[in-house]
């Protein structure tokens, strides 16, 4: 039951906000996946979307504008037993936080990033975000947006994310299935959620969404062999530059090692004993460290 996943905090989003759909889909996905709530952590950024960390009955870390990914990365690397999801807006993750967005893809840390993409900075009254189309003028803009938009899926692909999907906030069932697939994926994932903002974005409305998106039906997102990846990436570029934005799982690349596997490759001890699981004292004193073996390089 998704209700079990509701916290006691009242979601203070505007009536009709796309965030409600994302919240419902997340709670349904967690419920259906049978996630252990103590080992699940929502890490969020700043803005309307960031508040989601408070609304789910699981641990929530509501961080800084643009910085959810570093916090999430630290949590996941220090304790890989935790399942970590990032929620942030398009301004948060692709504007102020874009460097971290790219870095997470390069590392392929097992963290799923959910971008609440509404094209605007809602909480500060609707300024243009990095995903707002060029020439568009949402209602609080003084003049039309003169910057080109960034495509989160293509950016994520080039950064090395191994799971890419796009959903729509008002199609909760579909979004739930994307979240489940993303949470089951091993490695860094991105779900771009097209999220109408009824208060500030009067351009990318539900009507606009239904005219400008299509649900993927025949598309195969799977890449199981390294040599197939480049061809799949070419196909994704064509798909993304098509006349409508595709909704569904776009890439599921199973060929890359996760960051945890990469660290374990350098240091086998990490796999069995990551930072949060290590004992660091012995009866209130430091561990019985052998100086010669540990710090021998400095001994004279």
């Amino acid at each position: 039951m998704a209700a079990e996943w509701s916290s006691e905090v009242w979601p203070d989003w505007c009536p009709g906000c796309g965030n409600f759909g994302i919240l419902s889909a997340l709670k349904l996905a967690l419920s259906e996946l049978g996630v252990d709530r103590r080992s699940f952590v929502i890490v969020s950024g700043i803005g309307c979307s960031g508040k989601i960390a408070h609304f789910v009955r699981t641990s929530g870390v509501h961080t800084l504008h643009g910085r959810a990914i570093p916090f999430a990365s630290g949590i996941k690397i220090a304790n890989p037993e935790l399942k970590v999801i990032v929620h942030g807006g398009d301004g948060d993750l692709l504007g102020i936080g874009m460097g971290h967005f790219i870095a997470l893809g390069r590392r392929n840390i097992d963290v799923l990033v959910v971008i609440h993409n509404n094209g605007v900075y809602g909480l500060t009254k609707g300024q243009a975000s990095p995903t707002l189309g060029k020439g568009l003028k949402t209602k609080s803009l003084v003049s039309p947006n003169i910057a080109d938009p960034v495509n989160p899926i293509l950016l994520g692909m080039m950064a090395g994310y191994t799971f890419l999907a796009r959903g729509y906030a008002y199609n909760v069932e579909h979004l739930k299935s994307l979240l489940k697939a993303g949470l089951n994926h091993k490695g860094a994932g991105v779900i771009e959620v097209i999220q109408p903002c009824p208060t500030w974005n009067n351009v990318n409305t539900p009507e606009w969404v239904s005219n400008n998106t299509l649900y993927l039906k025949e598309w195969d997102p799977l890449v199981n062999k390294k040599e197939d990846l480049v061809q799949k990436m070419r196909e994704i570029v064509s798909l993304e530059y098509g006349y409508k934005r595709p909704l569904g799982v776009i890439l599921e690349d199973n060929t890359k090692e996760t960051y945890q596997e990469r660290i374990t490759g350098l240091n086998e001890y990490y796999g069995e004993s990551p930072p949060a699981k290590q004992k660091i004292e012995s009866e209130g004193k430091p561990l019985p460290i052998n100086f010669e073996r540990t710090f021998g390089r400095y001994l004279i």
Binding site: V9, R38, V61, H62, G74, P274, P286
Partner: protein, 629 residues
């Protein structure tokens, strides 16, 4: 016995190895040593040097004039010749004899123009030969030896260029002049070039040749019996740079997760931790492994470290001024969320890029005040390698006991200086503060009598954190009463910290209780003040030293008591404004009588403190030190 040696050359031209060879050799005999490294922000070509002080008693600063100067290039001789004492020694390769002093393209135009005036003033011809004539006239012993010729014979048939072994040649000459047996140099070379058989063999031959040549010259500076007496007293020691001492301390203290973005001079510490990589027990079992992550920027470094701390791993990040500037927002998040994260902060010359490789103590007030809003933090400044190692452990304890972010405030002077420390006894407490396994009803920010909310790690219970003001559960609240109570909870920790941190971590007093004058200092400047103390007392005043260690919360009760007893208070620090003096005037309601300041990017030396103190006695209020190259 107290020796000061300068060995310099072009950056990337073997100066680092020369210095380490010298330091390793003298330290292996049991002598005390401190090597201070000066270098440009440059990979190859600019002037770089090691100032190595060797003594039979502990030394924590350098001292001029130098007894010996070894030059790998003309610029070194041109830069440092005036720093050599009468009766001192200058060593260089005869092959540079004909070169001019002022023509090295690597020289800063300002330095060239200063040098031209000096040469004109002292009637020195613009050549190494001219300098030699001058120095010999001034009573300096100049050893212009045919090193290149000697080396080129050895290098025949190898692909090693002469410059690559010039450092060994000149360092061997210095060590020979100081009276060290050849075996001692071998020992240092064997360690430095371990695993490089060919290079090792060539370097050994260079040592042989130099020793043979100098035995003909029959030069001895150090008496043999002095050296052996000093050597007999030492057990096994650690030879390390300050940044490495911190790395060792952190690992002993249970560091398991460290993040960093490359920056001078902090990056050395993270590299050292990554190299150490595994903690072993006596049976050779791995009992710990710190994980290092090189992040995309410092904003990520602090964010990741905070994330690690939330999971219960002892977590830290290490940086310098520009990096900490970027971390400030995250640092505030740790403040409002009471996260025990440690920031190891190596100060360097600012603002902006400033002097990236040079010493400074100008970020004291920044580290105390950094961040918008008000929150509790701890700032601890270590004064030497030993303290830096121990404080690295204590910083984690204090962070976890009081649940506040902690800044371990260090400086470039410490980071890059090399010394030998006794192996630490592993008896510093590890105190993780109050840790619980939360339930579903767990309140991360619960109001308690002690003012500290028991901490559950992520994964042990559901919990919320937010950079917004929050209630006991950690959910956003803008309620005025919640705000007031939560705000007070965070700020009142200050009192508890001041009550519980022991006096020796607040400040250290050196000298006689019956002092008339009190010197106040902090950070590595303590070294020069401490070393100068006997000489200052010989100037006719009873002078004591107070090194402040806990910079925030400022231990006013403890420090001001010492101030109140003093007839004269003199502060010594490496900045322009007198930042410690400012804190004293704020907290103790007393203006410091004299400030001794230095902001040219070079560490304060013992002799500078002594000469500054003469000026203090003569009544000069503000004294700016200008020494160092």
């Amino acid at each position: 016995m107290d020796f000061n040696i300068i060995i310099g050359g072009p950056q990337g031209g073997g100066v680092e190895t020369a210095g380490m060879l010298l330091i390793r050799a003298v330290a292996s005999t049991g002598l005390e040593v401190l090597g201070v490294r000066e270098y440009h922000s440059n990979i190859k070509g600019k002037h770089s040097y090691f100032h190595v002080r060797v003594a039979d008693r502990a030394v924590s600063s350098i001292k001029l004039p130098a007894d010996i100067l070894g030059g790998l290039d003309p610029e070194t001789l041109a830069t440092h010749f005036s720093e050599v004492r009468e009766g001192g020694v200058v060593v260089y390769d005869e092959a540079i004899e004909g070169k001019p002093l002022t023509k090295s393209p690597s020289m800063d135009p300002a330095k060239v123009s200063r040098l031209r005036s000096t040469l004109a003033e002292r009637r020195i011809n613009d050549s190494i030969e001219g300098l030699r004539n001058y120095l010999e006239k001034e009573g300096v012993r100049v050893y212009s030896l045919p090193f290149s010729k000697m080396i080129s014979d050895i290098l025949k048939g190898t692909s090693i260029p002469i410059e690559r072994t010039m450092n060994t040649a000149i360092t061997s000459a210095i060590l020979s002049i100081m009276g060290f047996e050849k075996g001692i140099v071998y020992g240092a070379i064997d360690t430095l070039f371990a695993g490089k058989a060919g290079v090792l063999e060539v370097n050994r031959k260079v040592v042989d040749t130099v020793y043979e040549k100098l035995s003909v010259e029959k030069v001895r500076v150090v008496k043999k019996d002095e050296r052996l007496e000093a050597g007999g007293k030492r057990g096994r020691r650690l030879l390390l740079a300050g940044a490495e001492a911190v790395a060792v301390g952190k690992i002993i203290g249970g560091l398991r997760f460290q993040t960093y973005y490359p920056i001078t001079p902090a990056a050395d510490e993270s590299l050292a931790i990554e190299e150490i990589a595994r903690v072993f027990d006596d049976d050779g079992r791995v009992i710990g492994t710190p994980i290092i992550v090189q992040t995309e920027d410092e904003i990520s470094a602090i964010g990741m470290a905070i994330g690690g701390a939330l999971t219960g791993a002892r977590s830290a990040t290490s940086t310098s001024g520009p990096g900490f500037s970027l971390m400030v927002e995250g640092f505030g998040w740790a403040g409002i969320n009471e996260v025990p994260v440690v920031v190891t902060y190596y100060q360097r010359g600012g603002p902006s890029t400033g002097l990236p490789t040079r010493h400074s103590q100008s970020d004291l007030l920044f580290s105390i005040f950094a961040g918008h809003g008000e929150f509790s933090r701890i700032v601890i400044a270590s004064g030497d390698h030993q303290e830096a190692m121990e404080d690295a452990i204590k910083c984690f304890n204090y962070a976890e006991i009081f649940q506040v972010p902690v800044i371990h405030l260090l400086d470039k002077g410490l980071a890059n200086s090399v010394t030998a420390l006794p192996v630490p006894p592993l008896d510093t407490a590890i105190d993780r503060g109050e840790v619980v396994d939360g339930t579903e009803e767990y309140k991360r920010f619960e109001f308690t009598e002690s003012g500290i909310s028991p901490r559950a790690f992520l994964g042990r219970s559901i919990q919320w954190y937010t950079g917004d003001e929050h209630n006991e559960r950690g959910n956003i609240s803008e309620d005025p009463l919640v705000r007031e109570e939560m705000y007070r909870k965070r700020l009142e920790k200050r009192e508890r910290i001041l009550k519980e941190i022991p006096d020796e971590d607040k400040a250290k007093f050196y000298g006689s209780d019956a002092y008339e004058d009190l010197i106040l200092t902090w950070g590595t400047t303590k070294g020069a003040a401490f070393d100068a103390l006997p000489a200052l007392n010989a100037l006719g005043r009873n002078v004591a030293l107070l090194q402040v260690r806990l910079m925030e919360p400022f231990p006013a009760d403890y420090v001001c008591k010492f101030i109140a007893k003093a007839r004269r208070v003199v502060s010594i620090e490496a900045n322009y404004n007198g930042q410690l003096a400012w804190l004293i005037s704020h907290y103790c309601r007393r203006e410091v009588d004299n400030t001794v300041l230095k902001y040219n990017g070079r560490s304060i030396s013992e002799d500078e403190v002594i000469s500054a103190y003469r000026r203090v006695i003569e009544g000069e209020g503000r004294i700016v030190l200008t020494g160092g190259e």
